[in-house]
Amino acid sequence: MRKILTMLMVLFVIAAHAQQESLVRFEQYVQAGFNFGALTPVSLPNNIRRIDSWVPKFCPSIGYEGVYRFNERWGVGLAMKFEYKGMVVKDSVAYLHTIITVNEDGQTTEFEGDFTGTNETHAYNGYLTVPVNAVYDPGGNWRFKLGFYMAFLVDSKFEGTVSDGYIRNGDSLGEKIMISEATFDFKNELRTFDVGLQGGAGYRLSKKLSVEGNLNWGLRPAFPSSFEGIGFNMYNIFLTLGVAYQIR
């Protein structure tokens, strides 16, 4: 974490220095947009039988980006964004292994079993995100970016219900226990730091205003490996669609 912060400071210093040295080499943008996507396994495990619905949540993303141009074509961009990533997904699962752990008053209880039925998950997580990009400007109105991002969780929600199904005590051979509806809340289990790849394109509509699309692909599972409530890894995969306004 300290390394990351040191690196960021160095980049900001370079940017600030660049600004002083040559104003035309340094561009600044404010960005606003929305995130569409999901906290999802990258390849759906065969336990997920059907996605019944996916509804994006209202996920604004606002940010500031500074781009330092090395030359006509190439530059490096550093941004700071505050954004939400979320969705509501309803799916049907079969034989999904889960361990539910409840800690209360120093007492830990655990239930382990295989669930078959309907799952509905509401995820809505706020991140302070720092994207670092290589910027390529082929001339004309297009601009392309490729890089990575680091995201710090500042607000979290990961909850939902399991319903209309059954859970088997222990594993698939355990006795069947019907479930009409039960709730879960895993927000305290979420990792607070995410890192991923990102890339996208912007198209200039006018001198100052561009539309931008950016795919953000999280590389770190949203839950630590010690968490066994969900039997597969999930990643933040979101597309940001929005506008950028050049302020300098």
Partner: protein
């Protein structure tokens, strides 16, 4: 303008692409890993009571008439989708050799479950609780008869899914060496709810034990319906006798966990004769209009030494003995435990229970 439209189209294609990537990933369904016997159907004219499949302990309890017991049966069974069994559905089985076992292999081929088919014979209605077995997966005890069959059940299979430590002594109902005349007996304890049960509003778990079966299937959606009371009974019962000892816990609490000062917990112990073949449940065991007679311990307060009780059955006015009857014995360390009221720490020990015919 043309370029701008182009950009929008490209972004659209991008979204469509992502949707395709995510939705095209639905894989072929996994082969079914389950290996249940779901139904075990025997010609009703051969049965004296409804068959019960004890999924937790992998036993099939059959209530056979003597003729069927001698000649054998051809049960039709259904299993989890894709599973197969040895012997197969429709095969003849007989009870004059050793144990009758059904081995079920899941569709996935990875899982196997062995069910032990037991013919239940209630015999002389005397229960000393000298023999106990252990549920392997969840490590709770349950009493078995001298011939190894199961007549008694308890709330333990329900408690097993509430995250209790897997240790016989941690469960509400287990055996004890401190029975009447230093024999083994059944001990029932009222426990505090676990963090998991408290999630669904259950703050107290009473120790319970009863003649009948526990249907895990509905343990979560309707716990009172999971306790199915009664075993087939023939004749006219006269008295319900036995020994018990009871220590109420220190503080009585209501269903919300509030301590009610000045109130003492009480145990409950009763026998109910009713018209079968369907079992009564926690919802109606004392209120059903199928009830013919009851014998109930009237005073469930503290009893530090073993006390013998001998209670005559009281018959409901106009109720008639039939040849399709069931009898249940129910014991609980907290009389209102079915409503999650009682005192944590209440302990009931019962031994040598008996239904004496008239």
């Amino acid at each position: 303008m043309r370029m701008r439209a182009g950009a929008i189209v490209k972004i659209h294609l991008f979204i469509v692409g992502i949707c395709l990537v995510l939705s095209s990933c639905i894989k072929d369904p996994p082969l079914n890993p389950e290996a249940d016997i779901e139904t075990f159907i025997v010609d009703e004219s051969l049965l004296s009571g409804p068959t019960f499949i004890d999924q937790a302990n992998r036993r099939i309890l059959l209530y056979l008439k003597p003729r069927a017991f001698r000649k054998g049966i051809k049960p039709e069974i259904t299993m989890s989708r894709g599973a197969r069994s040895m012997p197969a559905s429709g095969d003849s089985i007989s009870f004059n050799g050793g144990p009758v076992l059904y081995t079920v292999t899941s569709e996935s081929g990875q899982n196997q479950k062995v069910y032990d088919v037991q013919v239940v014979n209630v015999g002389n209605w005397t229960f000393n609780f000298e023999h106990w077995e252990l549920n392997q997966a969840d490590q709770y005890e349950f009493p078995v008869e001298d011939d190894g069959t199961i007549l008694w059940s308890s709330g333990n299979p329900g408690v097993a899914i509430s995250g209790i430590p897997k240790n016989p002594q941690a469960y509400p109902t287990h055996s004890t060496n401190g029975g009447y005349a230093a024999t083994i007996a059944a001990e029932l304890n009222t426990l505090k709810g676990t963090p998991l049960t408290e999630l669904v509003g259950i703050k107290l778990i009473a120790g319970s034990m009863f003649l009948g079966t526990f249907n895990s299937n509905v343990a979560f959606i309707d716990p009172l319906a999971a306790t199915e009371f009664g075993q087939p009974y023939v004749g006219t019962p006269g008295r319900f006798t036995g020994y018990y000892r009871y220590t109420p816990g220190a503080s009585f609490q209501d269903e919300d966990g509030n301590i009610i000062s000045g109130r003492q917990d009480e145990c409950s112990l009763y026998a109910v004769l009713f018209h079968g073949p369907d079992r009564l449940t926690g919802h109606n065991v004392l209120t059903s209009d199928k009830i013919i007679a009851t014998a109930e311990l009237s005073n469930g307060t503290a009893q530090s030494d073993f006390r013998r009780f001998d209670i005559p059955f009281t018959f409901k006015q106009g109720a008639k003995i039939s040849n399709d009857m069931m009898l249940a014995i129910v014991a609980s360390s907290s009389a209102e435990g079915d409503h999650y009221r009682g005192a944590v720490g209440s302990r009931l020990v019962v031994d040598s229970l008996r239904v004496v015919p008239k």
